[in-house]
């Protein structure tokens, strides 16, 4: 590759297209931000309703009220459930995806497709037999068992995504590692995984996210109120006749959203590193 020959002709055009790209990104960002207007204004309004209007007086009372020990515990529970499920999913899905990606398995794909389509079954329908099973196994109200079930529901998607990202890593790189005497497992961990780190991240974030927002599974499988995650306790702001404490709900939602956005930002920085490493491997 000879960058010298590229420079003079394409540079101005590149600058223009970069400017255009930044312009479009800015517009999209603004459009995505606008609906948040209500959320932010309501969170600072002690008497919030469903109209987007600046509060008569700005107050942090909603946040102060929402940040009570019960809610903090609920957020903690969410971290345990979502983090646990996301990590377990990676641990289980990665080895499972490997044979699917690297071998010609006769039954592998049909089974996977069937499971994948089954995730289209609304969770509400599945919970009836699942609850019965949890009662049989005496697992109701157990956080580890609920985490494991959440892992299982996320697995078909995770394996499927993982397999496709793994397909993107050329076999030739692994073969080089084998020649050097590495086992398949070592090749997977040392060569394949680093190369598909962006994909692995997507799987992790996706699993974490869907678990973080999952209401019905923990709602049904956990009994004790002190074990419930934030997705369940959010209903504390709703009333029986449809009345809603919008201000508190908005403040709670902002706190609920923040950790995952932080996770994303963190991943972005880590990925920056991944890109560099990838470059190094390819160089």
């Amino acid at each position: 590759m000879a960058p010298v020959s590229v420079g003079s002709t394409t540079a101005p055009r590149r600058a223009v297209s970069a400017a255009a790209a930044y312009g479009v990104l800015a517009v999209v960002a603004v459009l995505f931000l606008v609906p948040f207007g209500w959320l932010f204004l309501a969170s600072l309004n002690a008497e919030a309703g469903l109209t987007t209007e600046p509060p008569a007086e700005f107050t942090l009372r909603n946040f102060a009220e929402v940040l009570n020990p019960d809610n903090l515990r609920a957020f903690g529970n969410s971290f345990v459930l979502s983090g646990g499920a996301a990590l377990l999913t990676l641990l289980v899905a990665t080895p499972a995806a490997y044979p699917l990606s690297r071998y010609n398995l006769r039954f592998g794909r049909p089974v996977l497709y069937a499971l994948l389509f089954s995730t289209g079954l609304p969770i509400t329908a599945i919970m009836v037999p699942v609850y019965g099973m949890f009662v049989q196994l005496e697992l109701v109200d157990s956080v580890p068992a609920t985490t494991l079930f959440l892992t299982a529901t996320g697995l078909p998607f995770a394996i499927w995504m993982m397999k496709n990202f793994m397909d993107g890593v050329p076999v030739s790189l692994e073969e080089a590692a084998w020649v050097d005497g590495a086992s398949a497992w070592k090749a997977l961990v040392r060569v394949v995984l680093p190369l598909m780190l962006p994909g692995v991240t997507v799987v992790f974030v996706f699993t974490f996210m869907t678990t973080w927002g999952n209401f019905f599974v923990p709602f049904v499988l956990l009994l004790a109120p002190e074990k419930q995650p934030a997705a369940v306790t959010i209903y504390q702001f709703f009333g029986q006749q449809g009345e809603v404490a919008y201000g508190l709900l908005a403040a709670y939602s902002i706190l609920y959203t923040a950790p995952v956005v932080a996770l994303y930002a963190l991943v972005q920085r880590t990925l920056g590193g991944a890109f560099a490493m990838q470059g190094a491997v390819k160089g």
Partner: protein, 448 residues
């Protein structure tokens, strides 16, 4: 073969986890109390937590396990029903809506309470109309009522005064209501004269606060308990649809885009009423709780502006006013291993003192006569006496498994009438056909 290895591994995991599951094994000395704790509705939770040590001291050896369920009604029912499907997780005492009692009895979830009630002196404090609401088709009682709600007209005094209406306003017939609404429309053009829930987005509020508040003020009801048949078609049905047509076609109600708004109840309590943009609302007794200091939209001075009136019957037929009621009970699970202790708990939780406490804190309309007369209850909210007096004229929805589906059809026909797609007569005809389809033609009778 390998599948089995996997299975065995997973099963092993499951067994290991069962150890740390905890709490799922329960002796008969433990009573499981399952109830709703939803949003602002924390009062039952507060009360039960307070009663737990009291009860455990009175009944040595029996432990209470409180299981609050944070969810809306539909999700609450789903979870409780799931728990009841398995003997080991079935609750001993459950917070039960009167209106699902019949279907839960059919499902074998509930235990009749007659043997206990016969010797319970307090039972005499419950009026017959209330006892009817907890009696199942087999004639047995399955729950002890905790409180109820009623429905009627809320109105904005400022707007009615501006429109030249004499206060306090007491309409005697539907026509009085319409006349006042027309007067508001003419003289206070920037206000919506009248609101009633109608159509599918508002759901059960449309059927109960809207359509049935009309229908049960005519000469016909939705269900004839003597003949055990649904009543359709009836003149009352068509007249009720005609009222809806009048209100919407004359522009006395919010425009369709607002009337069919999913969040109409929020618009009414936080925007229309406090901002003097609504004259009259056909709504529930709980409306003012939103405006209390601890409510969702505090408006402590609401009493200066807002007053209440009973919903009149169609032509002023006796008793001149009408209302609809729902209400919740404490019931005992059919699979309870210790029903005697469970009953003791119900009797404690709903004695005079605790019922009074619950009615005042939870903003419930009292069902016990002694509580209804208590000054502490009557002074808790200035409208309490008004709403409690309506209990004498109130009606309950037909508590049958088919009702939700029929209610859905009512909402659908209301919506067709309010948007002008159907005449009142057509709506009655279509509703009759739907009811016949849902319950079977032999269980439907025509009237008027």
């Amino acid at each position: 073969m390998r599948r089995f290895i996997g299975l065995a591994m997973a099963a092993g995991l499951a067994v290991t986890m069962a150890g740390c599951g905890g709490g799922s094994e329960s002796g008969s000395n433990e009573l499981k109390i399952v109830y709703q704790k939803f949003g602002t509705y924390i009062h039952l939770d507060v009360m039960l937590r307070r009663l737990k040590p009291v009860f455990e001291q009175q009944n040595p050896g029996v432990k209470l396990k409180l299981i609050p369920v944070t969810a809306n009604d539909a999700d609450y029912f789903s979870k409780v029903n799931l728990m009841r499907r398995s003997a080991s997780s079935a609750p001993d005492v459950v917070y039960e809506d009167t209106y699902v009692i019949n279907s839960d009895v059919k499902a074998g979830y509930l235990r009749p309470l007659d043997e206990y009630l016969n010797t319970w002196p307090d039972w005499g404090q419950f009026p017959d109309s209330v006892k009817q609401g907890v009696k199942a088709l087999d004639g047995k009682i399955y729950g002890v009522p905790m409180g109820t709600d009623t429905r009627g007209l809320w109105y904005n005094k400022t707007i009615l005064k501006k429109a030249g209406v004499t206060l306090p306003w007491r309409p005697k017939t539907w026509d009085d209501v319409l006349a006042t609404a027309r007067q508001i429309k003419a003289r206070v053009p920037d206000a919506t004269p009248f609101n009633m829930y109608s159509g599918k987005p508002a759901g059960e509020a449309s059927s109960m606060q809207g359509y049935e508040m009309l229908l049960y003020g005519t000469d016909h009801e939705l269900y004839n308990s003597q003949s055990a048949k649904w009543v359709a078609p009836s003149k009352g049905m068509t007249d009720s649809f005609r009222f809806i047509k009048t209100v919407f076609s004359e522009g006395l109600a919010p425009k369709p885009a607002v009337a069919l708004d999913k969040n109409l109840n929020t618009i009414v309590t936080t925007q229309l009423f406090p901002k003097n943009k609504l004259g009259i609302a056909l709504d529930g007794s709980w409306l003012s709780s939103t405006w209390q200091k601890a409510g969702e939209a505090p408006w402590p001075e609401w009493q200066d502006t807002i007053d209440v009136a009973p919903m009149p019957t169609q032509n002023g037929q006796a008793p001149g006013k009408t209302s609809m009621s729902g209400g919740w009970t404490l019931a005992i699970g059919a699979k309870s291993k210790n029903p005697g202790a469970a009953w003791k708990f119900v009797a404690l939780a709903l004695n005079r003192e605790n019922s009074l406490n619950y009615a005042t804190t939870a903003g419930q309309i009292a069902v016990r006569d002694d509580v209804g007369k208590d000054p502490a209850y009557l002074n808790a909210n200035p409208t309490n006496k008004f709403w409690t007096d309506l209990v004498s004229a109130t009606h309950y929805r037909p508590a049958y498994a088919e009702y939700p589906e029929i209610s859905n059809q009512i909402q659908k026909e209301m919506e067709s009438v309010m948007t002008g797609q159907e005449s009142p007569e057509e709506a009655t005809k279509r509703l009759t056909e739907s009811i016949q389809k849902i319950v079977g033609a032999e269980k439907v009778e025509a009237a008027g």
